[in-house]
Symmetry: C2
Subunit: 177 residues, 2 copies
Amino acid sequence: MIKRIAHIAIVVDDIDAALCFWRDGLGLDLTHVEDVPDQQAAVAFLPTGESEVELVKPTNELSGIARFLMKRGPGMHHICFEVDDVEACLDRLRAKGIRLINETPTIGTGGKKIAFIHPEGTHGVLVELYELTPEEQLLRHERQLGLADRVLHEGQVMTAAVMGFLQALVGNGDRAN
Amino acid sequence: MIKRIAHIAIVVDDIDAALCFWRDGLGLDLTHVEDVPDQQAAVAFLPTGESEVELVKPTNELSGIARFLMKRGPGMHHICFEVDDVEACLDRLRAKGIRLINETPTIGTGGKKIAFIHPEGTHGVLVELYELTPEEQLLRHERQLGLADRVLHEGQVMTAAVMGFLQALVGNGDRAN
C-alpha cells in the first residue's frame, strides 16, 4: 500500500542560503525551483534515490507554512509517502479513528491526488499521502520529451557553433600557411 | 555522493501507541524493535521502499532524544542519508564552514560509520550521514542467512506436524472404514 517516501519537506526562510548546504555542501542535485501557488510557496526540488528533499519557502505571510516558520523556525515540515490508493488509505485511517486534515483527496498539479493526516493522529508528524495518477505520468513524460528536445536543439546549436569555430580556425590556418 | 534517504527518525513517547498509526493505520511493516544503548533508546524499524521510518523512544531521561521529547514533544527528529564516503563528505562540509556535531565519524553497530551535522549548518534540520561498511554488509548477510535458516527449520517442523496430522487422519479413516 505504501510504496516509498516521496519527499521530505523542509521549511526555509531563504532558498538560496539553504542551497549552500543542501546542494553545494551535501551535494544533492537541484532539478528546479518552482512557484507552487496552491501551497503559497516556492519549492526547490532535490532528488535523492527514489525520494526528494523539498525546500519550501512561504510566498505569503498568512499561509500555514509561513505560520510554521514564524512559530518554530526553519526545519522539517512534513513527510510524504506515495501510496497506491489514497481513498483506501483514508478509509482505513478513518475506521481507526485517526484524525485527518483532508477527509477526501485534493487534486494537485498534474491531477495527482493528495491528502494530509493531522499530527495528532500520527504522534507528532504532519504526513502527506500522494497517489500518482495516469495524467501525472503523462505530464512527466511530456516534460521529459520537452527536456530531451531542448537538449537536442541546444546540442545542435552547440555543434553548429563548434563547427563554425573549427572552420574559422582552419580558415585562419590556411591563411597563416 | 549521496545515495538515498536511509531513514527518518521520529521521536515518540510510546512505541506501541505510535505503531497503532505507523504500522496498523498507515500499513508499514515492522521488522523489529531493538534496544540501541549507543542512542539510549529503543527503536522500531519500519522499512518503506529503499528507506526506513524509525520510531525512537528514549530509555534514559538525560539523553539528547529525551530532552528533545521534553522540549518539543513527539515528532521528526532527524533525517539520515547514506553516502559513499563519510570522511570526504565531512571534509567538504568543513571546507564550506558548515557546523558539524561529529568532526570525525563514530562507529556504530556492525562497524558502520556515522556522523551528525548541526541544525545550524543545515537550516534547521539535524542531518545524519551514514556509510555502509563491508563488515555491516557481512553482518546483514549473516542475519539474512540466520532468518532463512529459522524459516526453513520452522517450515520443516510445520511440514512434519502437518504430515503427522494427515497420517493420523488417514489412520482414523482406516479405522472408521
